[in-house]
Subunit: 221 residues, 2 copies
DNA sequence: GCCAACCTACCAAACAGTAGGTAAGTAAGC
DNA sequence: GCTTACTTACCTACTGTTTGGTAGGTTGGC
């Protein structure tokens, strides 16, 4: 039934991937993810591949939105698999799993998720946007969420809303390329060490004899 | 020399603001900030104002880029002033000042800074992009940075890189609208409480008799 | 000889930007 | 109080370019 899978071989009628189509998706991913759906034209993508814009319609007959959609789908599935494996492989502590997640993202040509959700979605058809939002949630949000839920179940961490934690950590991962300006900028590994350390142990100096207790919020109740 | 300033009165040749131009900037800010430079057309902005696209060239003769530039400038200056005042008014603790910052952002129609830096900048002329990046740094990054620097100087917090902290907190503020999907989503105030609490005191459960010490990173050190 | 993977050559719509006009208001001179 | 000169804040009508998309070839490998 199944011969060795190396050559073209489109025996199954199931949707396969075709090396040429994959190359198009690769280029589209780099460009779309860096500058967004509206900013990148089909001609930009074609130029990157040394082909003509009309040729893209061979692989994606329904046009730009289909290309963006399939590229996003591939992106999210890849991240879902990568994150799940990174977390499963890591030691069962919040710290180790967050490192694993961060290292996965570091190895990926990550991208502004904020940009995507924010700028690209309104330009797409509502159904497409909805579907992609759900995939983004399942692929990126859910794995992080479970790290914090499991950590709390283990008694390792106190019970803070896992959605808030997942969202915050994702936002930090997403925006880690911000601090471009600062002159003495630490390496990414150092930044990660500090971020995860603060996340787990807090910013407060505990070597001091402890300041006045209970001044957590400003005035008025 | 200076009469009462109510009527038109363009005695000075200094650049003034003209109520009509301000209305254009208001509309442009809402649209540009929500969907980005390339996704919003001049016709979109004009439609929002019930006027024709060509009329925008009366206020911004150099076109779309000038409009975006002046709008961004106004946005950053307003945030710079707002943040400085919020911090100066708050009690001199990291906690109180972070709350003040968060409340300032909450009162603003905030926007994806990530989107802006990521998607819009490449579409602008390099000089414009450079100028805006510097303004963003001065307006948003610097005030947050000083909170952490002062906190450490007071001995309130331990010495973590203030740039990393400022970047992370900004990223969280920026991406706080992410968790749209989750069914039982807490209010913004609750989210803030939890985020700042974790930031200061850490996520680790300290009521426990303390787990095995010194397992901060996974294997192979 | 057939099919995957391109190509050339178009099209209509939408885009930023230009040119010139116009209605309403203001301020000054007499 | 009426004309003259100028300004503000738009308008209509247009241009050249770029966009996503369509139709119908062409080519090389199995």
């Amino acid at each position: 039934m199944a011969s060795n899978a190396t050559e073209p071989m489109n025996a199954n009628d199931q949707d396969e991937i075709s090396e040429a189509k994959e190359r198009v998706l690769d280029a589209a991913e780099i460009l779309f993810m860096r500058q967004g759906y509206t900013a990148i034209t089909l001609r930009d993508i074609a130029r990157e591949l040394n082909m003509k814009q009309a040729s893209l319609y061979y692989h994606f007959p329904k046009g730009k939105e289909q290309l963006y959609m399939e590229m996003s789908q591939r992106f999210f599935l890849r991240n879902r698999r990568g994150l799940d494996e990174a977390i499963a492989t890591a030691a069962p502590t919040v710290s180790a799993q967050l490192y694993a997640v961060a290292e996965w993202f570091a190895g990926q040509p990550l991208v502004s998720l904020a940009s995507m959700m924010h700028t690209d979605m309104p330009a797409l058809q509502p159904e497409t946007a909805d579907h992609l939002s759900r995939m983004a949630y399942d692929a990126l949000f859910v794995p992080l969420r479970t790290i914090f839920i499991d950590g709390a179940a283990r008694g390792e961490t106190r019970p803070v809303n896992p959605d808030v934690l997942a969202g915050s950590f994702l936002a930090i991962m997403d925006g880690i390329q911000f601090g471009r300006k600062s002159p003495h900028r630490p390496s990414r590994a150092q930044m990660l060490d500090e971020i995860i350390s603060v996340l787990l142990d807090g910013l407060r100096d505990r070597t001091q004899p402890t300041g006045p207790p209970g001044i957590s919020r400003s005035p008025s109740a």
